[in-house]
């Protein structure tokens, strides 16, 4: 009746996950009860859960990423403490627990923190920058978000029901095959990623279509803000690479569920094929994450330097070059597998070639600052912190791209330090910069600068104190994923890294304090103009938060930095006082499709993990039925009457007029 599921699945003998799970459960229940008792449920349902508004979906993506950042961060803290104390002892985490933690940490940070964070920011901002009213497929967008949430839910469920994978975040076979990992851990891993992978693919298709097909009047490709370009490149990579991940995991699942032999030791299975396939997805994935961050930094550096982006066309070229070369370097993840010198050298050189457009980007940001008037607001601090940190990560990256050097550094703590250097220094700093930069746009009030700067300095310092010791440990021969060790010379560095982790945690606490303090002081921090940073692109041309239709009229774009030009010409020509004529606007209706679909997907995923076959069928039919019902709908749009549009827009125009007339010099 319940497949493999019985009471032994609940880890009563392991207090840590049980207590953590109980706390989270109590937290969720408390929030639910509060929501129901206070009568917020209808609001949540109509305004958020069923919303197909790209801004709301973007915010929900970022919220999901933030919550999962705390989960993945807790894993990181536990790992650093374990390695600090597990010298000539077992530490406090037994191997079966420690191995789950580093596997979950990697999986969560990539798939459920970095991905939703950048997808959330792209969702929130790209339609605004393009001057359009919504994304290409609003309901599909909601489906994509909720499927990602399903994956995150399943990963967290593994904390209290069963176990998570103990194979590392890429679940290499044959270790991940049924023979060596007979538990449900790998199944949790694979099904979470299969379900959220569909969500990501859907998001990718949606954003590619949006950038290619929905642009306002005059917004040709070479007038798009850089963030739109990097969004396009990143989502092209998603569309091309995620199917590889889905196919690879499908093969692994066939091995595990139906006795196939794609990657087994026996019957002609080939583990090297898995290595190749997973990295053929995995390496583009790195650029899927970091390209949007490059876009964010381009916007931030140009805005806070008060200058247009230096070498815009060069930047476009660099972005698209990275997009293409990203697919030609995957083999550098396993130089040590014994391929010949020609193969190794060619992939090593290809990997270095990616450093060229990346270096060009750094120099172009540098020259954007040259001759600027730089304001050191929090987003700009993150951007400068990123430039410095990312260059160092790039150096160590190119170093491991040299095959003979990689022969000594592969799988070492040096490598761990390297990819944290680029992912934290690149993606996470980028996500935080974007968060600080666009928060006022999403919510209509600024974030507290003092707490924001504290958060930056603690995170920046904490990063170096944590990861420089790992570089050193790697140079001392330390390999990754060690639950305990007996080598005395590694110990001090592990202790310093644990201290660094504490500093990083203070950074996270400051970030939380920043949000709390800002919400409390929101009236004082209110942004009435819609343009708190003296922005350059179209998202700042509408109010904060933008009305559901974003723009009453499709903006007319005449060059790069569309909104900057509008501000300049408005100043020069004095203001146009003729009242515009408003039209009715059609917007897509809310739809519970995404939520219901994800509900059934959760049931199906859970049932597949535990081999509860009747429930799999139930979930499958439910999800399909939801899709059919949606496909059968007759009315998918509603009309906002011209009068209402006018009322909303007039307030916006009035505020803006005050801004322009007040601003003598910028």
């Amino acid at each position: 009746m319940l497949g493999k599921l019985d009471w032994s699945a609940i880890p009563f003998d392991q207090p840590i996950p049980l207590i953590a799970g109980a706390v989270v459960l109590v937290g969720i229940l408390a929030v639910l009860i509060w929501v129901v008792v206070k009568g917020h449920l209808p609001y949540l349902w109509h305004e958020w859960i069923t919303s197909v508004d790209h801004k709301r979906i973007g915010v929900m993506y970022i919220l999901l990423a933030s919550v999962m950042l705390l989960r993945g961060g807790s894993d990181a803290i536990m790992m650093r403490i374990q390695q600090a104390i597990a010298y000539q002892s077992q530490g406090y985490l037994p191997p079966e627990h420690y191995n789950q933690i580093f596997s979950a940490h990697g999986t969560i940070m990539i798939f459920f923190v970095a991905m939703p964070f950048v997808i959330g920011l792209m969702n929130l901002i790209v339609p605004l920058q393009l001057g359009v009213r919504d994304v290409a497929f609003p309901t599909l967008n909601s489906v994509g978000f909720w499927l990602t949430a399903t994956g995150a839910l399943l990963v967290n469920l593994s904390l209290v029901i069963g176990e998570f994978a103990r194979t590392g975040w890429l679940a290499f076979p044959p270790l991940s095959e049924l023979s060596y990992s007979p538990g449900v851990g790998v199944d949790y891993y694979a099904w979470s990623l299969q379900i959220s992978g569909v969500g990501t693919l859907v998001a990718g298709i949606n954003l590619v279509t949006t950038v290619l097909k929905l642009r306002t009047k005059g917004m040709n490709y070479l007038r798009m803000p850089m963030f739109c370009w990097t969004t396009l490149a990143s989502n092209l990579l998603i569309v091309a690479a995620f199917p590889i991940l889905t196919a690879t995991l499908a093969m692994l699942l066939l091995d595990r569920y139906l006795g196939f032999h794609f990657f087994t030791n026996e019957a002609g299975g080939n583990v090297m094929m898995f290595m190749n396939l997973i990295w053929a997805w995995g390496h583009p994935e790195v650029y899927i994450l970091v390209l949007p961050a490059f876009g964010i930094f381009s916007e931030v550096v140009s805005t806070f330097s008060g200058k247009a982006l230096f070498g815009y066309r060069s930047m476009v070229l660099a972005t698209m070059a990275i997009c293409v070369i990203a697919f030609m370097v995957w083999l550098h993840h396993f130089f040590t597998m014994g391929a010949g010198p020609d193969v190794n050298a060619i992939f090593g050189i290809a990997s270095m070639i990616i450093a060229v457009p990346t270096g060009v980007k750094i120099y172009n940001w540098l020259f954007t600052m040259y001759g600027g008037r730089i304001r050191f607001a929090t987003p700009m601090l993150w951007a400068i912190g990123f430039m410095v940190t990312f260059i160092i990560g790039g150096l160590t990256g190119v170093l491991v791209a040299v095959p003979p050097a990689d022969f000594m550094l592969h799988n070492s703590m040096f490598l761990v330090a390297h990819f944290h250097n680029v992912i934290i220094g690149g993606v996470l700093f980028g996500a935080f910069a974007g968060f600080e930069f666009w928060f006022p746009k999403a919510f209509g009030f600024r974030l507290d600068e003092r707490w924001g700067k504290l958060a930056f300095w603690f995170t920046f310092t904490g990063f170096y104190v944590t990861f420089v010791p790992l570089y050193v440990a790697g140079m001392l021969g330390m390999t990754r994923r060690l639950q305990h060790y007996d080598v005395a010379e590694w110990r001090p560095w592990m202790i310093v890294a644990a201290v660094g982790m504490a500093v990083l945690s203070i950074g996270v606490i400051c970030q939380i304090m920043q949000i709390v303090v800002s919400i409390r002081n929101r009236e004082a921090l209110r942004d009435r103009t819609g343009d708190p940073w003296d922005g350059r692109s179209l998202e700042w041309a509408t109010s904060s938060p933008p009305p559901v239709f974003n723009f009453a009229f499709h903006p007319d774009v005449r060059g790069e930095d569309a909104y900057w030009d509008m501000k300049l010409s408005a100043q020069q020509q004095s203001l146009d006082h003729t009242a515009p004529e408003y039209y009715d606007i059609e917007m897509p209706k809310n739809s519970p499709t995404g939520f219901v679909c994800a509900f059934f997907a959760t049931i199906m995923g859970f049932a597949l993990i535990w081999h509860i076959w009747w429930m799999v069928i139930l979930g499958g039919i439910g999800a399909f039925a939801t899709f059919v019902v949606f496909a059968w709908r007759d009315h998918d749009e509603y009309v906002i009457p011209a009068a209402e549009v006018a009322a909303i827009d007039r307030v916006n125009i009035e505020e803006r007029r005050n801004l322009v007339s007040m601003a003598g010099t910028i």
Binding site: F310, G359, M475
Partner: protein, 277 residues
């Protein structure tokens, strides 16, 4: 285990390339970081002396330089990578004094088996080699993937079941080194450290002779016991019965090692693959 304290020619060449590459890159990285901080500081909004040039958004010369700097660096490093990859190909023998020593390595769950087919001996978790001799390794795995790595001798290499990888090293100085497993392989992974004893070429034959007198014998049966999942705290040595044992493992005539025993779930197949043969 300091990578910058090499004890053999391969590690020395690896770490030279490593250090050289870092310095080549530092030559552009340090000025760039300096420029970032300097530009950010000088062009701060409060600095009235800095000239505001909002129209400085394109310069063909600057563009050429910014594409050229990383490109030139990469051309230089690409050369290092190409030459280094060929010179340090793990499959290429490293000449030494005396006759080459052939060692067959099997990564087990969770210990290392070293077979000396020519000497008809085998050891677990201890690798003993003569200083200065050419060392030819053939490597495979009894079960999951792993990586064989002696940091101070250089160049790690994967071990995979049903496949043989090749590695050539040389240890120049007598002494004790540490080797390790560098690819996560399950619960006992941290205990897969092994000792490397580099002995003098004169002492080596004595060690071989004394090991050949070991009471324990390594044959198909004792190997199958050895490959069960578990940690080996001791340093057992064996007489090798059949010098073709490694080939039997690598060609899967001896089936891959079993995974964990399934106690709670006896009804399900023990291993996904056993039914296939």
């Amino acid at each position: 285990m300091n990578l910058l304290d090499p004890q053999g020619p391969v590690a020395a060449a690896n770490s030279t390339i490593l250090v050289d590459s870092v310095f080549i890159m530092l030559a552009i990285v340090v000025p760039t970081i300096f420029a970032i901080l300097a530009f950010a500081f000088w062009f701060r909004a409060s600095n009235t002396k800095a000239r505001y040039q909002p129209d400085f958004v394109y310069s063909g010369r600057v563009e050429m330089v910014v594409w050229a700097i990383p490109a030139l660096t990469v051309i230089l490093l690409g050369g290092v990578a190409w030459i280094g990859s060929h010179k340090l190909d793990p499959a290429v023998p490293v000449p030494g004094t005396g006759s080459p020593v052939r060692i067959q390595v099997v990564s087990l769950d969770w210990k290392w088996l070293f077979i000396y087919p020519d000497q008809r001996i085998a050891t677990v978790n201890t690798l003993t080699v003569p200083a200065g001799a050419e060392l030819n390794f053939q490597l495979t795995s009894s079960s999951v993937m792993n990586v064989f790595f002696i940091p101070q001798l250089g160049s790690m290499i994967y071990t995979m079941n049903g496949m043989v990888t090749r590695l050539n090293l040389r240890a120049d100085n007598e002494g004790k080194l540490q080797g390790l497993a560098a690819h996560f392989s399950g619960d006992g992974f941290p205990d897969m450290m092994f000792d490397v004893n580099v002995v003098s070429p004169l002492a080596y034959p004595d060690w071989v002779a004394s090991t050949a007198k070991s009471a324990a014998v390594l044959n198909e049966d004792s190997y199958k016991k050895l490959m069960q999942q578990g940690i080996e705290r001791g340093r057992p040595t064996y007489r090798l019965e059949d010098p073709r044992l490694f080939d039997l493992i690598a060609t899967q005539h001896i089936p891959p090692g079993p995974g964990p025993e399934l106690i709670s779930d006896a009804g399900r197949p023990h291993s996904g693959g056993h039914d296939a043969r």
